[in-house]
Symmetry: C2
Subunit: 407 residues, 2 copies
C-alpha cells in the first residue's frame, strides 16, 4: 500500500516508517523536523545519537534495499502542499503523528500552550480537509492518547472509545445510548487530543471519512527490530523533563546514578506500551481498516498498567538506584486506579512485550551505553501546570551551592 | 464594570455593546472587522445600512453622552496585543463573540472550513491563555450554540450543558455521573463550539477560570432599544444564503415577493431567541457570574422552539407570501423533535419577546423599509455540506432563462 507517515521523523513515527517499509509498503515520511527544532529550543539532545533524516533514509536503503521517500512539509500550515502531495501520491493510508506530543512542554508557558493548540488542531483539520478535498478514500490512522479518558476514578473499566450510558427521557423512561467516553484531559496537549476526537466524529459523520484513533499509553523502550539494524537508524531517546516519558527517565537516571524522581507519592497509575508494540499496533490498524460509512474505530493501545512508584521500585531493584519523591508539577490526583481494556488490538493479534523482559536491555543497550551523552541539568521537570503550583513548589536552593535564592 | 466585547462590531456584539454601555458599564469593542470583510468576499451587504464603527460610536456618544472605546485587533492571531489590552484595561468581564458564526459559510469549501477552525479555536484559546497569563480573574462570557447538542432525537429534554448518566462499573454496579452533554455538531462551525467547550472545561479545571457558556438558539429580529435610537446605530440584517438566519430570510423573502424557501420538508425543529433577549441574557450572565472554583456555567439561551415549516406558514399568513420547498443543502434529518430547558435564564429574570409580538415590526420596520437594498441573487443558499449533496442537488437551469446548463 502507499502510506504517508506524517511526523515520520519523530519518536513513534520513525520506527513506524521503517516497520511499514519492511512490510513492503511504499512509505513517504512527511515531517517539518519540528521535534529536532524543539531540541534546539530546549537545548537538549536525544540521548541516542540520531542521524539526519537523509542519513537515516540512506542507511535504510543501503541495508535493506528499500526506499522511503521524504517530504519536508508543515502539515499545520502548508495545506496546499499537503493537498498536492495527496493528489500526487494517492495514499491508501495516512498515519498521523504530526502533533506536539509532550504534556509538560504544552504547559511550559502561554506560548507553548498556544503553539500546541494551533499546531495540533490545524494539523488534524488540514489532513481531514485534504482527504475530503482530494476525493481519496484514504484510511486515516491517528495516534491518540489514553489521557483523553482522564485519570479520575469513576469505577468504570475504560472501554475502547465508546461507552453505553443510560439517561432519563422527557417522559421519565430510561434511554440507553452509546456515547464517546466523556473527555477529561489533564494538560493542554491531552486536551487537543480530545478535540481531535470531535474532528474525527464530524468528518466521519459528514464525509464518511475512514478513521482509526489509537489511544496509546506511555511508550517506553527505544529500539525496534528495524532501528536496531544499524546505529544510523537508532531511534531517539528523550530523558529531559519535558519530552522524557516516565520510564525512560527512570532508566536514564539509574544509568547515571541520579535518584529516580517520582512526582508526589507515585500513586499515579498509568498505561504503558513498548515502542516495538506501537509499530505493530499501527500495522494491525492498517490491516484492519473501518469500512466506509462505519463509525470512527477507537482502540486502546496499551499492554500493561502500573503505578509509577512500582515502576521506580522495579528499576531500583534492577539497577541499585534510589528513589526520591519530588513535588508534583502537575495538577492531578496523588493516586488513582486505572483499569482499561485493550481487547481490540489483542484480538487482532498483538503479542505484548512485557516490562520484565525488555527493561534490562534498555538499561544496558541504551541508558548505560550512551550515558556519557547525558546532560544532567536537563533531568529536572521545570514545567509547572499552574501558577499556584509554580509558586508553592519552587525548588529550594541547590544543596551545597552556598547561595539562597530568597536572600 | 470594565467590559471587553470581542467581536463587538457584529450582529450580536454591536447591540450587546450598546446595551452594556447603556447600563453604565465601561465598554471596549474589540473587533478585526472580519464580518464586514466577509461581506466584501461574498459580495453582499447588510440589508440595513450599517455605518462604519467610528460613525456608530460617534453617534452613540452624541445621543447618550456615553463613550465606548474601540480597538481593532484580531483575537485569533494577535495574542501579544490582546494580552497588553487585558493588562491595560483590566476588564472584569470579557464577552467573547469573536468567532466565525455561520454554519453554511463554514461548509462552503476547504478554505472556509480551515478558516473557521483556525479562527474560532485560536480565538478562544488565546482569550483563555491571556486571562491566565495576565493574572486577572476576569469572567469570560462566551456565546455558544444550541447546535452543540445536535438535533438527533434521543428523547431527552436538553439540559443546560450537563447531563446525569448511569454507567456500569467494573464490578457490575451502576455508577451515576454528571457529564457534559455528548456533542453532536452538524457543521464545522458547530463543531468548533463543541471544541470550545473542551477548552472551557480544561481552563476551568486547571486554572479556575470563571466562564459562562451561553448556548444560543437561532437569533431573529434586528433592533434593540439602543440600536433604534438613531439610524446610524442600526444593527446589521443578513438575508443571504450564508449568514442570513432562517427567520430573517423568510421576512426578507416575504418583503420582496420571493417565495419562502424551506429546506426539505421543513420538519426541522429549532430554538429561537430575539436579539433584544440576547443582549438581556448577556447582561444577566454578567450579573450572575460563577464563583472562583465553580465549574463552567452553561445556560441555554432560547425562548421558543418551532418547526421551520410552521415559521414559514406564520410569515406567509402575515404577509401573503407563498412557501416553496427546495432541496436541503445540509446533511441532517428531515424532521426532528427538540425539547430544551431554558430555566436558568428565566430564573435570572429573562422576560421573552415572543414571535407573535415582534414579527410584524420586523416585516414593516426592516424588511419592507430597506427592501430596495436587497440583491435577490444572494438569497439562494449555495453552500453544500458534502460533495454528494452538491452533485445530487445541483439546481436545475433557471426557469425562463432559455439556456440549459447541461447543453
Amino acid at each position: 500500500m502507499r502510506i504517508l507517515v506524517l511526523g515520520g521523523d519523530g519518536f513513534c513515527g520513525w520506527p513506524t516508517s521503517l516497520h511499514l517499509s519492511m512490510q513492503g509498503h511504499a512509505v513517504t515520511v512527511v515531517d517539518n523536523l519540528s521535534r529536532r527544532n524543539i531540541d534546539n529550543e530546549l537545548q537538549v539532545q536525544s540521548l541516542t545519537p540520531i542521524r539526519s533524516i537523509t542519513t537515516r533514509l540512506g542507511a535504510w536503503k543501503e541495508i535493506t534495499g528499500r526506499i522511503i521517500a521524504y517530504e519536508r512539509l508543515d502539515v499545520a500550515t502548508e495545506y496546499d502542499r499537503l493537498l498536492n502531495l495527496l493528489r500526487a501520491r494517492r495514499p491508501h493510508v495516512i498515519v498521523h503523528f504530526a502533533e506536539q506530543r509532550a504534556a509538560p512542554y504544552s504547559m511550559k508557558s502561554s506560548w507553548h500552550k498556544r503553539y500546541t493548540v494551533n499546531n495540533n488542531l490545524n494539523a488534524t483539520n488540514n489532513v481531514l480537509a485534504a482527504i475530503v478535498e482530494s476525493g481519496l478514500d484514504a484510511h486515516l490512522v491517528h495516534l491518540g492518547t489514553m489521557g483523553v479518558y482522564g485519570y479520575s476514578s469513576t469505577g468504570v473499566r475504560l472501554p475502547e472509545g465508546y461507552l453505553t450510558v443510560k439517561m432519563t427521557a422527557g417522559d421519565g423512561a430510561e434511554v440507553e445510548q452509546e456515547i464517546l467516553y466523556p473527555a477529561n484531559p489533564g494538560s493542554i496537549y491531552h486536551m487537543t487530543k480530545t478535540q481531535d476526537q470531535l474532528f474525527f466524529a464530524f468528518y466521519n459523520k459528514n464525509d464518511e471519512a475512514r478513521i482509526t484513533d489509537l489511544h496509546q499509553g506511555i511508550v517506553w523502550g527505544t529500539q525496534t527490530r528495524e532501528t536496531r539494524l544499524d546505529e544510523r537508524l537508532v531511534n531517539r531517546f528523550d530523558y529531559d523533563g519535558d519530552y522524557g516519558t516516565v520510564l525512560n527517565r527512570f532508566l536514564m537516571q539509574a544509568a547515571i546514578d541520579y535518584p529516580l524522581t517520582v512526582h508526589g507519592s507515585g500513586g499515579q497509575t498509568r498505561a504503558f506500551i513498548h515502542i516495538q508494540d506501537t509499530v505493530r499496533c499501527i500495522e494491525l490498524a492498517i490491516e484492519n481498516p473501518p469500512a466506509r460509512g462505519e463509525r470512527v474505530k477507537i482502540l486502546n493501545q496499551l499492554t500493561e498498567v502500573h503505578r509509577l512508584i512500582d515502576l521506580a521500585k522495579l528499576v531500583a531493584e534492577l539497577t541499585g538506584a534510589r528513589v526520591e519523591h519530588v513535588p508534583n508539577p502537575r495538577k492531578e490526583a496523588d493516586a488513582n486506579d486505572l483499569e482499561a481494556t485493550n481487547a481490540g488490538l489483542l484480538g487482532l493479534g498483538l503479542k505484548p512485550t512485557t516490562l520484565r523482559e525488555g527493561l534490562l536491555t534498555e538499561v544496558t543497550d541504551i541508558a548505560r551505553r550512551y550515558a556519557s551523552r547525558c546532560d544532567r541539568r536537563r533531568i529536572p521537570c521545570v514545567s509547572h501546570w499552574t501558577r499556584d503550583i509554580a509558586e508553592a513548589e519552587r525548588p529550594p536552593a541547590r544543596q551545597g551551592s552556598g547561595r539562597r535564592t530568597d536572600s
